[in-house]
Amino acid sequence: MNIGSAFQEFWNSTGIVNFTWGQFIMIIVGLIMIYLAIAKKYEPLLLVTIGFGAILANIPVAEISGPDGFLGIFYTMGIANGLFPLLIFMGVGAMTDFGPMLANPKTLLLGAAAQVGIFAALLGALVLDMLPWISFSLSDAASIGIIGGADGPTAIYVTSQLSIHLLGPIAVAAYSYMSLVPIIQPPIIRAFTTKKERMIKMEQLRHVTQLEKILFPIAALALCIILLPTATPLIGALMFGNLARECGVVERISNTLQNALINIVTIFLGLAVGSRMEAASFLSFETLGILALGLAAFAIGTMTGILLAKIMNKVSRESINPIIGAAGVSAVPMAARVASKVGQEENPQNFLLMHAMGPNVAGVLGSAVAAGVLLAVVPIMMGG
């Protein structure tokens, strides 16, 4: 082989020659995600890593997201088998204080109400499947619905078990809408509540003892074992982290879950999720459908959370500000902060943050339970 033809071959290996339009567009999408992360501070830990992963995955020739590429290695290591989202969940458990929820257990119901969005989006996906240019199976629809859970690790875990080919768009939708909570929720809150309702003050929460906090993760796991074993990987990981946090004798583990381990896993998970944003699979009508359904799920979940809170306010002895129902979608702690902010706009003396943390962490449980239902029912229905 002479120099000339070697140079020709080298030229043929450059990016200019091998670029496809799809790859180019996806790299732009990755850059936009990074821009939003940096300029708008939207979920930066995830959007920077996912965005960068999307760029790397769409480089021609290099095959960084292929099975031998380093993003492909991350993917095999912890996405395909569902390991990384569970490790993240351990860290989330170790960072979560269930105290506000234990002080007012009724708020758990708000975390249930907000999951209506999940099942609405699932039905929506089945409807969209009727369109000739969109094709969603039941398990696809379930994975799409879980975006409404507003919980990144849960969405990734469910999708890895049911519809791994949709992982890219579903994870992107989940994290994008989670980061857009401050934009999506306030108008919905205002539309479904009266000014008077938004001004409702709530009683201060009682002190919760350490023993209650230690026993809660065990009790919740026990219930999950009895009723819904398919949710136990998620709930189990969450409660392991939470028990490590509250039990007071394993500081080393609690700190590691909250720092070194979750940080390392976040890097790997973000890049690997980004690696699923390959042009060929991402640029499709299905992705548009997923983005639309995800947004609908968020909106519906916010609404149903608020509506149940309004009902509870009517029937309950203590007054409940319906705004905190919106925090039931999870998106911890953003949704609780949004609820608190909307409340203070009406009445600067109204401090709802702690009250909203109850439904907020309940929402994490709620979406994990919904995930368990989907993981139990969908395979049965598809097999049957």
């Binding site: 249930a112 099942f119 809660f216 919740a220 219930l223 239902v373």
Partner: protein, 65 residues
């Protein structure tokens, strides 16, 4: 998919009940021991004042010499 929503609600309603029961039992039979309230360090201020007074007295004495 009414099933799904129902199961989620049944689960969380049961969790509310269990949580309330748990709190009831804990608060009734295993109440947290009162932590001895940290006394306000009332004496300190006085002591410090005394020291300053002593210093000033010393300065005064020195001055008079």
């Amino acid at each position: 998919m009414l099933i799904g929503v129902s199961v989620v609600f049944v689960f969380l309603i049961l969790l509310v009940i269990i949580t309330k029961l748990l709190s009831y039992v804990v608060l009734r039979y295993f109440p947290e021991k009162e932590k001895p309230a940290a006394r306000p360090p009332a004496a300190t201020a006085g002591k410090q004042d005394a020291e300053i007074a002593a210093a000033i007295a010393a300065a005064a004495a020195y001055t008079k010499r």
